[in-house]
């Protein structure tokens, strides 16, 4: 990268004098951006302001995270940095060049690489190498130079082994790294990443974020990272929060996140450690509430309180460990009872998979055992999470559950009836076990929201009136009100579409609802709403919910039981708390435990608590306040 720096300095050198001193690489001055709102006849009926007076100044080598809810203008702003959009008012200066003034747009674009959310939609090349070469080819570099640039970029992202491979055979995280290499290949001054990790599993996410961090630290690359993950934003130098097209807060992560009331008003989460320290601070257990990572938190906590062991020594209890165990155990029992946690053993078994296997393309060289002798039983009124790395067989498992796939081996029973045999009506099972695929909004097709949700019930053979009544009820239970019913589903926002699509499955009145990554790409508030609706379905309608997820924090917060898949086998199947005690085993397969659990483990190792079993912030606060 050093070699490239020199060349790119050429364009900026004359601008240094222009500013006098240290150059800002990106400067947005009072940027306003509006879109026209058109009616059915294509007449302009009004304007919607997407960006409203944005002023941002980004210095070379900065790492900036942009946060904000869905629709806050983050992506629109990102597109301004690349002259994909130009402001209606105000100006965006990239390296001193006004994006609306330059004649050759690619002069701007080659200074600002972009990486988008969906890796599939940004890879042009048929092989990894060709894709990375696409940018340099567009810039008219010589063949030798392209080859050099490409191998340099591919090395940077650690994908050299995949040079000649087709991108279709890569995992999401690998594809995203290729996309980063592809933007590196145009030798930009900065890289804008628009929710690059939204579609990735924990390992892919970690790889991508580490890579971004490395590029910033080692190569001085300016990074602009748009994200919904507060933990990712916490590692940036600067955090900018956008809300309704305005800069709501900006500053160092610590400053921004410690404006807790403002953050809550903006409906954003806090990083877990910040939330935990804030809550403990309120209880007077810790003196600071602006702690960002585990290390900071543990250090501060240790400073502010004495080791648990000291207390026991003072009160003269010799068998301190045991005494502590009893205290803590009763504490967690209380939590478990409160949450109605635990194994829920008394429920009736609904779905039972016995020794089930599924093989893709059997008897060929491509043979692939996706699910390998799995035993799972799902009981009435449970809320179950399924986690596992990419390719561990999760999606195959859930497709077996609702009869889309017939097991190659083994038996599946639904309410005691064998459904893997030839005689059973698969269609019946589709109605009993509703399956919501990943990004379910891509299955919407009807003219109105209401009729789309009615599709399932009508297929079930219901009368139109009954189907409509059910559809209305389901939409309302997911927070979609009357005013949306006659709208086209394609006119809704992302989060609304998602809820309509889920309503479309729930409207078939299944007893078990299986959802594959239902919250992918949603902002924290929408995510919370969705989980709340699912919880209500469980509690009020007595449904069983199965959620496939990559978010350990969400799992810890919402589900009672977790099934961990790895290599087609069930690795763990236990209460959420028990599963998250196996941090080493989970890490080995590329998963993790909630951040708060790591902190609790550290505190236990240091002797500041006897209980490291808390998996949510609520629990951790309870445990730590009890000590």
């Amino acid at each position: 990268m050093k070699l490239e720096r020199k060349e790119s300095n050429f364009s900026s050198s004359y601008l240094v004098s222009f500013d006098g001193e240290y150059m800002s690489i990106i400067k947005a001055n009072n940027v306003k951006y509006r879109v026209k709102i058109k009616n059915e006849n294509n007449e302009v009926v009004g304007h919607k302001t997407i960006l409203d007076n944005i002023n941002i100044d980004i210095k070379k080598g900065d790492f900036v995270a942009i946060l904000g809810r869905n629709g806050s203008g983050k992506s629109t702003f990102a597109k301004h940095l690349n002259a994909l959009l130009v402001p209606n008012e105000g100006s965006v200066l990239i390296n001193g060049q006004d994006t609306s003034m330059v004649e050759e747009l690619w002069e701007i674009r080659k200074q600002c690489g972009m990486v988008f959310q969906n890796p599939d939609n940004q890879i042009v090349g048929v092989t990894v190498e060709e894709d990375i070469a696409f940018g340099p080819e567009n810039l008219g570099m010589s063949s030798e130079k392209i080859i050099k640039t490409v191998s340099h970029a591919i090395e940077k992202v650690g994908m050299s082994a995949f040079k000649k491979k087709s991108p279709n055979h890569l995992s999401g995280g690998q594809k995203q790294r290729v996309a980063i290499a592809s933007s590196l290949a145009i030798k930009p001054e900065c890289i804008v990443l628009d929710e690059p990790t939204a579609m990735l599993d924990p390992k892919g996410r970690k790889d991508v974020i580490n890579l971004v961090r490395q590029l910033n630290k080692n190569d001085g690359m300016t990074i602009i990272l748009i994200t919904h993950h507060m933990e990712e934003a916490a590692i940036a130098d600067t955090v900018i929060v956008l809300d309704q097209g305005k800069v709501a807060i900006s500053g160092k992560p610590r400053e921004v996140f410690s404006k807790i009331d403002e953050m809550k008003a903006l409906k954003l989460e806090l990083p877990q450690m910040m939330e935990l320290s804030y809550r403990l601070h309120q209880k007077g257990k810790i003196s600071r509430y602006d702690l960002l990572d585990i290390e900071e938190f543990v250090e501060q906590y240790m400073k502010d309180s004495r080791p648990a062991i000291d207390i026991y020594d003072k009160i003269g209890v010799h068998d301190a460990g045991r005494f502590g165990d009893i205290m803590v155990q009763s504490e967690l029992n209380r939590i478990d009872e409160k949450n109605n946690n635990g194994k829920n053993n008394n429920g009736k078994t609904l779905l039972e998979l016995i020794d089930v296997s599924y093989v893709y393309q059997p008897e060929t060289a491509m043979k692939n055992i996706a699910v390998d002798h799995v035993n799972v039983s799902i009981r009435e009124n449970e809320m179950i999470g399924v986690i596992g790395p990419t390719g561990s067989g999760k999606s195959t498992l859930i497709q077996l559950m609702n009869g889309l796939l017939r097991p190659s081996e083994g038996k599946i029973y639904f309410k005691g009836k064998d459904i893997s045999g030839k005689g059973f009506q698969k269609k019946q099972l589709h109605f009993s076990v509703g399956l919501v695929f990943q990004y379910p909004e891509s299955q919407l097709f009807e003219e109105t929201v209401l009729s789309d949700v009615m599709y399932g019930p009508l297929n079930k053979g219901y009368e139109k009136e009954k189907a409509e009544a059910i559809a209305r009820e389901c939409l309302k239970s997911l927070g979609i009100g009357d005013e949306y019913f006659r709208k086209s589903p394609f006119d809704l926002s992302g989060g609304e579409k998602r809820r309509v699509a889920i309503a479309g499955v729930i409207a078939m009145e299944p007893e078990i609802i299986v959802l594959d990554e239902p919250t992918a790409g949603l902002d924290p508030l929408t995510r919370e709403h969705l989980f709340y609706s699912l919880k209500m379905l469980k509690e009020e309608k007595n449904k069983t919910i199965v959620i496939v997820s990559h978010s350990m924090e969400d799992m810890a917060k919402y589900v009672e039981r977790v099934i961990v898949m790895n290599g087609g086998k069930v690795m763990f199947d236990d209460t959420t708390r028990q599963v998250f005690q196996n941090s080493d085993a989970l890490e080995k397969i590329g998963l993790a435990i909630p951040t708060v659990s790591y902190a609790m483990k550290r505190l236990k190792a240091e002797g500041y608590t006897d209980c490291d079993e808390a998996i949510t912030i609520d629990e951790a606060v309870d445990v730590l306040s009890y000590e």
């Binding site: 597109k79 994909l84 747009l105 690619w106 674009r109 080659k110 690489g113 972009m114 988008f116 969906n118 599939d120 939609n121 940004q122 890879i123 042009v124 090349g125 048929v126 092989t127 190498e129 060709e130 070469a133 696409f134 940018g135 340099p136 080819e137 567009n138 810039l139 008219g140 570099m141 010589s142 063949s143 392209i146 080859i147 490409v150 991108p167 279709n168 592809s182 933007s183 145009i186 497709q399 609702n402 889309l404 269609k427 589709h430 109605f431 399956l435 695929f437 379910p440 891509s442 299955q443 919407l444 097709f445 599709y455 399932g456 297929n459 079930k460 394609f490 479309g504 499955v505 078939m508």
Partner: protein, 271 residues
């Protein structure tokens, strides 16, 4: 079900044929097909078949792989053969009710059959030995002259290569949408024609919507990476002729000469 399509499949191996410039292979395939039409007698076909056999051996593509491509056209081939056998007027060899087989019919059918098979093998050999990217590059380069009559060759080639990249993605997507709608109780199997056609709507609309969305996103991603059409664009691996390719052109030339001699002189000498 959608993964069985073998159109334009590439067989990965190292061979002299694989190493040839795609333009050589494109031109050779074209000349070969033209020659099959120009020289329509059995001795010429024999020469063509032998030439093709040599090329197949050189390419190291297993025969099994090539014949697999023929399976898909068997029905088409049978129909055209039968039509020719039964409906060509001439010297009657066999007659039963309205079925009449003529000598000319048999000869014509045999010729068409051979020609058909040779064309299919030759063109599948082209795609089996040339990567899709090379093929589009070759087309772009060799059709470059069309630029002068305002045909956007580069854009067409770019569309082709993007299509190649997105075919597997869209197939996966189709698979997913079919599954998602099946999970909502859709039924694609029972009912008459109209009901079946109607049941496709829940698949086609989402598929189109997603394809358009992908296209839009891809266009943005391409622009972000400085794409501005074919002007001043370079290639990482530009096509370059080397001695191997000139040898191939020379062999092609000999092949054409041999066929012409065979067709127009040898026959006359022998009668």
């Amino acid at each position: 079900m959608l993964r069985d399509i073998t159109l334009g499949q590439y067989y990965q191996t190292e061979s002299k044929i694989h190493q040839l410039d795609p333009r050589v292979k494109l031109l050779s395939a074209l000349v070969y097909i033209i020659m099959l039409f120009v020289c329509d007698d059995f001795s010429c076909y024999a020469i063509c078949a032998i030439a093709l056999w040599i090329v197949i051996r050189l390419s190291k593509v297993p025969i099994k792989f090539i014949t697999k491509g023929l399976k898909t056209i068997v029905i088409l081939l049978m129909i055209s053969l039968l039509l020719n056998i039964f409906f060509t007027p001439g010297k009657v060899l066999f007659e039963f009710n309205f079925v009449r087989i003529t000598e000319e019919g048999l000869i014509k059918a045999a010729k068409i059959g051979i020609r058909f098979i040779l064309i299919i093998i030759a063109s599948s050999l082209l795609t089996l030995t040339t990567t899709p990217t090379n093929l589009t590059d070759g087309l772009e380069k060799s059709l470059g002259f069309l630029n002068y009559i305002k045909i956007p060759v580069h854009e067409i080639a770019m569309m082709m290569s993007i299509a190649l990249r997105f075919i597997p993605i869209l197939m996966e997507e189709t698979d997913k949408i079919i599954k998602a709608q099946t999970a909502r109780g859709a039924d694609f199997e029972t009912g008459g024609m109209i009901k079946k056609a109607k049941s496709l709507i829940p698949i086609m609309i989402p598929l189109f919507v997603s394809a358009l969305k992908r296209a839009n996103n891809l266009a943005i991603a391409m622009e972000a990476r400085c794409y501005h059409g074919g002007k001043d664009r370079t290639k990482m691996y530009p096509l370059k002729y080397n001695s191997r390719d000139f040898t191939a052109y020379f062999i092609l030339f000999i092949f054409v000469v041999v066929l012409f001699v065979e067709r127009f002189y040898v026959l006359k000498i022998f009668g």
